[in-house]
């Protein structure tokens, strides 16, 4: 079974993936900060008891697990694959997961809220993932009674999620805007429209591998449709800007860029040890080169998956054992060497 991130999709040169998350709480339990350990166990069980209904109505295969019982490496690897949030992975209390086989739908239990329904897809399609999460929400609400208030909507542990409980986001690949130092400015502009951008693996607007997450800030006072339409509108602008910058960069300095990309490839192909940050930067340049047709990959390799797999815990999981960082850097270099396809000059040269 292919995972969602193994699919190729529309606007894939800029939009890596689309994701929505719905926050829900059960009437009969206190929120996380006031939840006893016994109630946490009961909560996880009560929600997981709804899994058969989800399976039946959704038609997908689902797996259940209690995340806090997994090993540290496994939990971290799930975070790197965006299956669970860092909050859920870091909790000591009982936490649960209902996960679809293709990992596109995950229902986190006892996160900051009792339930976080998440749906992801490759490329740009918030409508599809919202429809999926919304459908799961409807199914769950047949068996579970959610906290809902006429005025405030779905009640959440943090008032920043109240109302729709909807956080919609796009993962964007922005090499040209990053290289030209435009992301800070962009962040300010987007803020005015209630949209936030942050680096995916880094801190704040700094990012590794030019990967960013863009999401709605407000959850109350507008409908789910309006939230998504607003985000789409902003992201359309970002895509246009990124593409314009890419074109401009290629026109202004094609030879330099081609040289840079081949050099990056050279390091990736021959390095004997490499840190995650370096690797992410170089892979981002290679991905940019491949997307823009400056280089051609001789085999179809998904560079975004490669980026995901060289994160510390993902790598550890592939290695099947716990290792120190220097061993990991050697393993990372080897992993990349093996996965990297041969390349040649692209059709644009």
């Amino acid at each position: 079974m292919r995972k969602w991130y193994e699919e190729t999709a529309e606007n894939g040169d800029v939009v890596i993936s689309s994701r929505v998350r719905l926050a829900r709480n059960l009437r009969s339990y206190r929120f996380g900060s006031r939840l006893s350990d016994e109630d946490a166990v009961r909560l996880v069980k009560e929600v997981q008891d709804a899994a058969p209904l989800v399976k039946e109505k959704d038609g997908k295969r689902y797996f259940l697990c209690n995340v806090n019982h997994l090993s540290e490496v496994n939990r971290q690897a799930m975070v790197e694959r965006y299956v669970v949030s860092p909050t859920l992975a870091g909790k000591k209390q009982e936490t649960g997961l209902i996960l679809s086989e293709d990992e596109s739908v995950s229902i986190m239990i006892n996160e900051e809220d009792h339930i976080r329904i998440q749906s992801v897809t490759a490329g740009m399609d918030l409508e599809k993932v919202f429809a999926e999460a919304n459908f799961i929400d409807d199914i769950l609400s047949e068996q579970l009674s959610f906290s809902f208030d006429d005025r405030f909507g779905y009640l959440t542990a943090c008032p920043t999620n109240v109302g729709t409980g909807l956080r919609a986001s796009y993962m964007l690949f922005l090499p040209a805007l990053t290289m030209t130092g435009r992301v800070e400015k962009l962040s300010e502009e987007m803020g005015k429209y209630g949209v936030t951008i942050r680096g995916l693996y880094g801190e704040g607007t700094k990012s590794q591998g030019c990967l960013y997450q863009v999401s709605n800030q407000k959850t109350l006072g507008r409908t789910e449709k309006e939230i998504i339409a607003n985000l789409d509108c902003i992201v359309d602008q970002v895509i246009k800007q990124e593409r314009r910058r890419r074109e401009y960069m290629l026109q202004a300095g094609y030879d330099e860029i081609e040289d840079k990309i081949f050099r990056s490839y050279g390091i990736l192909k021959y390095a004997r040890q490499i840190g995650v940050e370096d690797a992410m930067t170089l892979l981002a340049q290679l991905k940019f080169g491949a997307d823009a047709g400056v280089v051609k990959l001789k085999e179809d390799v998904n560079l975004h998956i490669l980026m995901m797999n060289i994160q510390p815990a993902g790598l550890q999981k592939l290695l099947g054992k716990n290792v120190g960082s220097s061993v990991r850097d050697r393993a990372r270099a080897e992993y990349i060497r093996n996965k990297l396809p041969d390349i040649e000059r692209g059709q644009n040269s």
Binding site: R151, Y154, L155, P159, V162, G163, K192, R198, S215, G221
Partner: protein, 189 residues
């Protein structure tokens, strides 16, 4: 109200600062608040995006003023989960669904600040029925309330003939009630 600094954007954050013992009140937009105050608006939050810390920093800024002393006596506590409003300010997380009621106007104020709104317009749970006064148990509902609920359900099920019938019944009942009021009022007039 417009922002005190840029005079362009709408002010959403009410910020009180004590400078040299003097209280200074400012009404700022989010952008200016981020630049000119000690709030960290764009928190570098790892992983899942959360505004919880931002919320608590804004509210703390708001209450760390002189008003805090006055507020202390009025620091509401949620009867259901025992969380106090001050405790909530520290983490930005509420203790239970009832906290939304328990913290009353304070929560309303913070929702206006953070969300720019205080009214949900999105999805409702399937089968959820909106009634004028939600907390009324079904037994206490008036005939008209009950009919209104049935009317909404009929509309949701797209049973328009039934809906039209219910609508007429409600109209008739309302007309009767009004007549009753007039009659009662008549002798005194």
């Amino acid at each position: 109200m417009l922002c005190d600094i840029c005079h362009k954007r709408e002010a959403k954050i009410y910020y009180t600062e004590i400078v040299n013992g003097e209280k200074k009140e400012q009404h700022l937009c989010e952008e200016c608040a981020a630049e000119h105050t000690s709030f960290q608006m764009k928190m570098p939050v790892k992983g899942e995006f959360t505004l919880g810390n931002l919320l608590s920093s804004i509210l703390q800024g708001y209450y760390n003023s002189e008003e805090k002393k006055q507020e202390e006596s009025a620091n509401p506590v949620c009867e259901h989960c025992g969380m106090s409003y001050e405790e909530f300010l520290k983490t930005g997380l509420l203790g239970c669904a009832d906290c939304y009621q328990s913290f009353g106007s304070a929560i309303l104020e913070s929702l206006k600040n953070i969300q720019g709104s205080e009214l949900h317009t999105g999805k409702r749970p399937k089968g959820y029925v909106k009634v004028k006064e939600v907390s009324k148990p079904v037994a206490e509902l008036s005939e008209i309330d009950k009919l209104t609920i049935r009317l909404q359900q009929a509309i949701e099920r797209e049973e328009f003939e039934e809906a039209a019938r219910l609508r007429d019944e409600i109209r008739a009942k309302k007309a009767k009630e009004e007549e009753g009021v007039k009659k009662e009022g008549a002798p005194n007039a």
